[in-house]
């Protein structure tokens, strides 16, 4: 995970740590769902507070609105109209069609690549973190402390600076310019490991495991049949934040891949943006903007629809008692 941006690492860990810290520091006896809000319900709504928060909301949504408005404009009207309002022909659908078909439909290919990286990368990261975190929580084994020390110590090294050594090594292994060069590093989520570790400490009772052992079930089998289900809320949170990390990954694929066939959306879009500097190249800012919009939609939709899951994942500590 060293090569992804640090920001992409933070969510899971923070979420987890948050959850567990909250669990321990308080003794929640009620589900958060039972408690409508922090204070008490009878409080009067404040118009002033709402107004202040509206300003906040505008700040958060304005760039996204700009992006949407921009994607409804042609290349020409993009350059000569006010950025925050619609102007000229409503070219959104034209732009989308062009984005999807430009240069032999390479955008669709990038979309597919991104999905591939997300499914294998984020899925794999969650799986490895689940195995590892569970192992750390539930077993004592030689070298365990070294595992902690090494994993946690490596996180503070700036990822971008490891790019060259990683590139040279991957190159020796023949991995550069293949999907593996992107997928392998995203398989590691130290914070996911940490999240599952703390989560497993509480949510998988040792008694259950001992009972399974008495019944003669193997450790691996127990993990898949019993523990994994108990870990589910933690897994969903790790998965969701790994998905964001992988979806937004830019730097790693940028250096590892030289051929656009394997680009994810982020790198492809930036290449389109640079195309304006190309001799005889098309200037396609309208497609860059429309492509950006298409890029963020799936992830925004995922967040909206999975809201219930990740919010419960974040608060999971309070639900289980």
């Amino acid at each position: 995970m060293a090569l992804t941006t640090p920001e992409s690492l933070t969510p899971a860990s923070t979420a987890v740590r948050e959850t567990t810290a909250a669990t321990r520091s308080t003794s929640p006896r009620r589900s958060r769902y039972a408690r409508p809000s922090a204070g008490s319900q009878h409080k009067r709504k404040s118009v002033l507070l709402t107004a202040v928060m509206v300003v906040f909301l505008i700040y958060s949504l304005l760039p996204l609105f700009w992006l949407f408005v921009g994607s409804t404009k042609t290349q020409a009207s993009l350059l000569n109209s006010f950025g925050l309002w619609f102007s000229g022909d409503f070219a959104l659908f034209d732009n989308i069609a062009q984005t999807l078909t430009y240069d032999g439909g390479v955008f669709v290919r990038w979309l597919g690549n991104t999905l591939l990286y997300v499914v294998i990368g984020a899925g794999g990261a969650t799986f490895l973190a689940a195995l590892g975190g569970y192992g750390l929580a539930k077993f004592n084994f030689p070298g365990k402390k070294a595992v902690f020390a090494v994993v946690l110590g490596a996180v503070a090294i700036p990822g971008t600076a490891l790019a060259v050594p990683t590139f040279l090594m991957f190159s020796q292994l023949g991995l550069t310019n293949t999907p593996w060069a992107v997928i392998l590093p995203s398989l590691i989520s130290p914070f996911g490991l940490y999240l599952i570790w703390t989560y497993a400490l509480d949510s998988v009772p040792t008694e259950v495991l001992e009972a399974a052992r008495m019944d003669g079930a193997g450790e691996i089998r127990t993990f898949f049949t019993i523990s994994l289900r108990l870990l589910a809320p933690g897994l969903v949170t790790v998965l969701l934040f790994s998905i964001v990390g992988t979806w937004n990954n830019y730097f790693l694929p940028l250096i590892m891949l030289s051929e656009p066939t394997w680009y994810p959306l982020t790198v492809g879009l930036n290449q389109w943006n640079q195309q304006a500097q190309t001799v005889g190249g098309d200037v396609i800012y309208n497609l860059v903007i429309t492509g950006s919009l298409i890029t963020i939609i799936p992830i925004v939709v995922a967040f909206l629809f999975l809201q219930r899951y990740w919010q419960s994942g974040l608060a999971a500590g309070s639900v289980k008692a």
């Binding site: 958060r32 958060s60 946690l152 700036p158 060259v164």
Partner: protein
């Protein structure tokens, strides 16, 4: 992440495990993670250390130089300038972002807000936007000729200084980073507030405590761990500042130097300058520095709790 060893869980974990048999079974689970980890993280780190002891020249080839690269780095004004810049960024942007996030979390949790779920989701949304797209968007809007800033200038007949000028560019980057991560931190704090047991509030209200008293005596203590975590990751994020300035650089090449942040410096040394060895040295120094600062914050932030 030295921070983790201080987690209260560490003690109890050890106790639980002591009862279990000591064998290698755990490696079945930790093994796969560690194998991949060794390949993609440990090996490059060690390789960096190896590289940092050598010097490879376009003319003259590779030679062992011991700690000469480290000596050079410690007296390199560009490294210090970039460290100074991210420290300033850290000192200004991080508190503002965390304060805004805290305010939003308290507001949404206060029950005094109309439509609070809408605010919660809307403020969180930017987190889902890739840094590349976020920077492209803000970059377009920062334009003084045709961007939003230009529009505002025309409309009000004023002259807002260019957000991409040398004086303001750090603040403009701070704005992008704040926009991206304020919602994430807000959710973090909000989750911490949600697990405060209702009976605490009830008790406080019986005692006649007002809103601000409740915030100070109940909410702030409950938020402390979340705030420490938010701060630590913001510190790491600041020291590793890279995506935003490097993408914005095509719009403001003079204001954003090749050594704007330590990470950009390391990147440009190796990729533009082929100084792989010196770049690795910078990476190691910055990594050690980041780890130490995060560690100090963690210690001071949690001392009173334990």
């Amino acid at each position: 992440m030295t921070t983790l060893s201080h987690h209260p869980a560490a003690g109890s974990a050890t106790r639980t495990q002591r009862r279990q048999k000591r064998d290698w079974t755990g490696w079945q689970f930790v093994g796969p993670f560690m194998v991949v980890f060794a390949v993609v993280l440990i090996a490059p780190v060690i390789y960096s250390v190896y590289l940092s002891l050598y010097k490879d020249q376009l003319v003259g080839g590779n030679s062992f130089v011991g700690f000469a690269n480290y000596a050079h780095a410690l007296s390199d004004p560009k490294l210090w300038e970039s460290l100074g810049r991210v420290t300033l960024f850290l000192a200004v942007q991080v508190p503002i972002m965390l304060a805004l996030a805290l305010f939003a979390a308290l507001a949404i949790d206060s029950a005094r807000l109309h439509l609070s779920p809408l605010f919660r989701i809307a403020i969180f949304l930017p987190y889902a936007v890739p840094a590349v797209v976020a920077t492209l968007m803000w970059g377009f809007m920062y334009g003084t000729q045709f961007g939003l800033v230009g529009n505002l200038n025309d409309f009000f007949g004023i002259t807002i200084p260019s957000p991409l000028s040398g004086t303001w560019v750090l603040a403009s980057i701070g704005n992008i980073v704040t926009w991206e991560f304020v919602g994430y931190n807000m959710i973090l704090f909000y989750a911490a507030l949600r697990v405060i047991p209702a009976d605490l509030y009830e008790a406080a209200e019986l005692d006649g405590a007002g809103t601000f008293r409740i915030i100070r005596s109940i909410k702030f203590p409950a938020l402390r761990p979340a705030m420490v975590i938010g701060a630590i990751f913001s510190i790491i994020g600041s020291f590793q500042l890279f995506n935003e300035p490097s993408i914005l650089r095509s719009l403001a090449p003079n204001a954003i130097s090749t050594f704007f942040s330590p990470n950009m410096y390391a990147y440009n040394l190796s990729f533009s300058g082929q100084q792989y060895n010196y770049s690795a040295t910078i990476a190691i120094i910055v990594g050690l520095l980041t780890a130490s600062i995060a560690y100090i914050v963690q210690i001071t932030g949690t001392r009173k709790e334990v």
